[in-house]
Symmetry: C2
Subunit: 337 residues, 2 copies
Amino acid sequence: MCSDRNKDAKRPRRATAQTVADLAGVSRSAVSRAFTPGAYVDSEKRRRILKIAADTGYQPNALAAGLKAGQSNLVAVFVGNMRSPYDSAFVGELAQALSGLKKWPILIDRTGANTDQALRELLRYPLDALILRGGSMSEEIVDRCARFGIPMISSGRPVQGPRVDNVCCRNADGMTMITDLLISRGRRRFGFLSGPEEFYSSSRRRAGVLQALDRAGLDLVAEHPTDYSVDSGYGAARSLLSRASLDALVCANDATAIGALSAARDLSLNVPGDLAIVGFDDIAMAKWPTFRLTTVRNPIDAAVDAIIALLERRLVDPGRPEESIFLDPSVIERETH
Amino acid sequence: MCSDRNKDAKRPRRATAQTVADLAGVSRSAVSRAFTPGAYVDSEKRRRILKIAADTGYQPNALAAGLKAGQSNLVAVFVGNMRSPYDSAFVGELAQALSGLKKWPILIDRTGANTDQALRELLRYPLDALILRGGSMSEEIVDRCARFGIPMISSGRPVQGPRVDNVCCRNADGMTMITDLLISRGRRRFGFLSGPEEFYSSSRRRAGVLQALDRAGLDLVAEHPTDYSVDSGYGAARSLLSRASLDALVCANDATAIGALSAARDLSLNVPGDLAIVGFDDIAMAKWPTFRLTTVRNPIDAAVDAIIALLERRLVDPGRPEESIFLDPSVIERETH
DNA sequence: TTGTAAGCGTTATCAA
DNA sequence: TTGATAACGCTTACAA
């Protein structure tokens, strides 16, 4: 093929500090100072410069500024699965909070074909940090991230490593609380829908249920694994409910609880009359009119606040000791218990 | 393994091409060439350089490379609301597809406090493009984006402007198809739950319903606005169903259809016996066991494919004429019609 | 308060 | 095939 004829139709290069400086009759550094809060510039001159900048659409090039400063203001956000309501709400909140700090989230979805490769490519940018939604990720991949050398904040799975800070919900406590609630309401025959083995949250949540039952002198009557999806919750609940007589079904997350709720309905069980069903996370769907699910709130806002706080501290002092923040879940009583 | 020699030190600066060059006893340019596919380097030397790079953790600094090239490989993805299942699934798919192109999505959520400000700040990066999920955004904000001067791809709301390409689902056709289906099944008394006036999709979807009814010589019996949320769908449906006798309720999206489904149940209406309820989008929840919603598929995969294609073409030839790709929706028959 | 000049880490060009 | 060199656009000592 031949060379393109509209080569001159190239995208116009953006205005630079020099462009503005020439137009304003000042030096390039004056322009830079006009954009630097607290720098020494005659305030009248600054006004003139900013005016011309606005007219020409000039903005300091963040690539050049970042190169100079050794900081990109870019933050990788690595998340398990954007199709999970919890993860996507988490990402939305986080993106908002980061933009307040003028940090920009680059989104990486674990479900991508070769994420490892992609993550490595992304590291060509001198990222300020890597924020990991590790609750929905395997230990292996999380550990790999911790070795990249950039500051990391892991949410949902505690990770040991240099410059790795942690935010984590007290999963076990949450489950103990809600199981206690069910016990106090007279439930005695408990079933449990567990999460994927490789997720940290799964084992902690299971431990919480077992602890509450143990203290009450009760045994788990039946148990079934799930992959945390609605469908697998549905299947697991059907199988469990058809082979055991239960009066309470604790589910490792809301999605499986929602599946279980549907299964109970299909089996003509009365919820909460015959059977209590509870979940964990308090995703948006939990309060939908059809479900009104009693659940444990895994607070996204608190998690995001904690991440932001840890990030700010780490950026101020990169050598500071690693820190972990634990979040308290709370029971949300709706209509399925 | 993990050497932590400078625990008090500032974050170590990353290895540069010079570091690797010195170690390998070659010039900086040789290192650069080793990382440039198809550049002239002795293949043995390249191997040695890459080995040393791997050992030192060297990767070319994307900020410097981008500064040089006048291209950042960064793409802004501006989305209406990450709490909407459609938008978040869209973002997930898009992020995956972009990483295959080595383009990195920076996520901006419209619901942020001062998004306009944030977007402007983000433009300090020489972004390759701005991808806009405009279906869930007002015209005003979309037009503002079109004026930023960087290539833009709008999905879900056609936008006129230089270097603005469009991807859009044939909303009206989809609604016409599903309304035709209901008519062919004998439905005659139609209600409609409309979307927010300021969203482009709302009016198109409404037009599609009206066209099908018109051709069949039917009138819309009743109509109620929503904000596209489940709750507003629930409220709108309750209000509509209590004042009009309907045998079909067409909803402008799946969320409102799901709300309507719950309202119908609470009113002891038999779906689909007494009343058909259908939605639009085919979000993940539409196929959940409790809903099994008949709906119109608004194909995310096709939209993402189209966006990627448009992006590639625009990057190759920035001056090319603007292009629009229209996507065909399809009816998904489940159990509510 | 202002301007000059020296990098930041790359890559493209050019001469060897 | 290789190495020196000149940008890319910015910030910040340092000098004026």
